[in-house]
Amino acid sequence: MSTVATRTRQVVRRPARRAAWTGRAMLVPAVFAVVVIAVYPLVFSVAASLSDSSLGQQFTDWVGGANYAALFTDGVTLPSLVRSVVFALASAILALVGGSVVALCLDVSVRSGRVLRVLLLLPLMTPPVMAAVVWRLMLAPTGGLFNNVIQTISPGAEPFLFLGSSPAAMISVIAVDAWQWAPFCALLVFAALQTLPSEVYEAAQVDGAGTLQVFRRITFPLLLPSLLTALLLKVVLSFKVFDLVFVMTGGGPGFDTTVSSYDIYRSGFQSFDIGMAAAQTIVFLVLVTIVIVPLNAVRQRAQKGAS
């Protein structure tokens, strides 16, 4: 009797144990990917930031905190960090507000919904480099669409330097980024709108609530967790910006649009100072964490409150 029991248990347990091992084995490639793209770069950057390293020769000397001391006084790194935060928050909020407005309007286009959605998604699909080229052409001082319009309205006016003056350059880059990503936000918000319970709306209709009232009292509070999730996602994505700056302004005029991504790229691949680039990388990572962690906490609280 007991042998039978043991045998059955073995039979049952063996596949389970095999599954556990197979499961671990199946995770190995993904762990390898994370090590290559995240763990190794982080360890390398911490080490390199404490050393004197160039692109050709790394770790020639240990310099302790010298790279960090230098970045606090070089007059470029700290303003770039501030610009990264300004860019990330401004472009995220702009894209989310624009996208939400579109998402809230999409319900009228029941019949032409598909065509509409494809058209609205075009900015998102456009490769950022090409989007930057288009907007650089449109914002060009001579021959650009916007300055042509200005010329038509008031002939002989000085061309407006959208990408060559402060603060227009930063505003332009932020606006182009929002143009690209508003469709993504619209998509997320639209999907969230579909999950809202219809009973609440029916009840509101029975009670005779107006459109604005329905939005303020029902749609917005119910949507808030999704909006915060979309905002968090877009802030994460906005910190990655590089291509728009590279193509549209090259970080200029002066350092006006030099965000941290571009600053780190310049240190590493134009000045070939790997030690400095690594120190900037670490500080940038800390900054991204400081912005994202509280935002995520707020999002989680809203989500908990909603469910």
């Binding site: 556990a20 197979t22 624009g98 699909m125 490769p127 993504f184 709108l193 999950t195 291509d243 991204v288």
Partner: protein, 298 residues
């Protein structure tokens, strides 16, 4: 967590299923409101497509047209396209872009699918595994460029579309894992149990039972990874330095085209790079939208 994902997964799919219609929110059906909504939509569409239309018009403009303030070309200057093709190896760039994106999709999916199976169905490592893998994507890619550049140079993979595709595939593995998670969790667990009772091991359950069920998910995630890699600039910029290995965004970004005479050619070159993504988006929009919203809305 799992329930939420599954629910949002169903909701997203409901959005994209053919025949399903966005629900009209009751109370918002008054005529004034809906015409206001139409105005907003028309403005949004104009904002979305004007730059593209401008690019098309510019690609057919002669330098004289560009300096004049006319919106449409006076005559169709087809020579912009010819000289763009002659001045830059556009089709080499395009071929590289497609090859790199294709390699990256294969790499990312081959790594992500078993990982997702282990996480969602075998529950390896508790609930934290997914979060750990996905968090690797939060850091801006610029953080990894210097170490990756040195690694790729040491490995002798510089200027190789395959090397670049491999790196991009690894970079996008967290995205693939994140997006696929919802698709895996939307399949009822009874299916695994039935497969196990029929004597399938984990590998066979994954390959012959689950994979056919998540084909739409694989398509969606594959298309998204493809577009992300095709559109990427920073990594290809650093890992390819010769014209014969560069991708289209790199080639176009490095064109010295600030002067107005070049506007037409730059526009033509950019359009060549945009057309493939738009075609892909057009034909695959159903999977694309389902995949983009998967996992992100909760």
């Amino acid at each position: 967590m799992s329930i939420r994902t599954a629910v949002s997964g169903d909701a997203t799919r409901a959005v994209v299923l053919p025949g399903s219609r966005p629900r009209r929110a009751p109370g918002s059906s008054s005529r004034a409101i809906s015409s206001l909504k139409w105005v907003v939509l028309v403005v949004a569409i104009l904002l979305a497509i004007t730059p593209i239309l401008y690019l098309i018009a510019t690609s057919f403009k002669s330098p004289d047209d560009i300096l004049s303030t006319r919106i449409l070309p006076a005559r169709f200057a087809v020579e912009n396209w010819a000289s763009a093709m002659a001045n830059w190896p556009i089709f080499t760039y395009l071929g590289n872009s497609l090859l790199v994106a294709g390699v990256a999709v294969v790499v990312a999916l081959v790594i992500a699918v078993p990982a997702n199976y282990a996480i969602a169905r075998l529950r390896v490592g508790g609930g934290q595994t997914l979060l750990l893998i996905v968090s690797a994507y939060i850091a801006p890619p610029v953080v990894a460029i210097v170490p990756l550049f040195l690694l790729v140079r040491t490995a002798g993979l510089m200027n190789s579309p395959f090397g670049l595709g491999l790196v991009e595939g690894l970079m996008l593995t967290p995205v693939a894992v994140w997006l696929l998670d919802g698709f895996f969790r939307s399949i009822p667990g009874e299916i695994d149990e039935a497969a196990q009772l029929d004597g399938c091991g984990p590998v066979r359950t994954l390959v012959s039972v689950l994979l056919p069920l998540i084909t739409p998910g694989l398509a969606a995630v594959g298309i998204i990874v493809f577009i992300l890699v095709y559109n990427d600039f920073l990594i290809p910029l650093l890992l390819t330095q010769t014209g014969s290995a560069q991708t289209l965004p790199v080639g176009i970004a490095l064109m010295q085209g600030g002067r107005e005479v070049m506007f037409g050619q730059m526009a033509a070159a950019s359009l060549t790079g945009i057309i493939p993504v738009y075609l892909l988006a057009l034909f695959a929009q159903r999977w694309l939208i389902g995949g983009l919203t998967q996992g992100s809305v909760k």
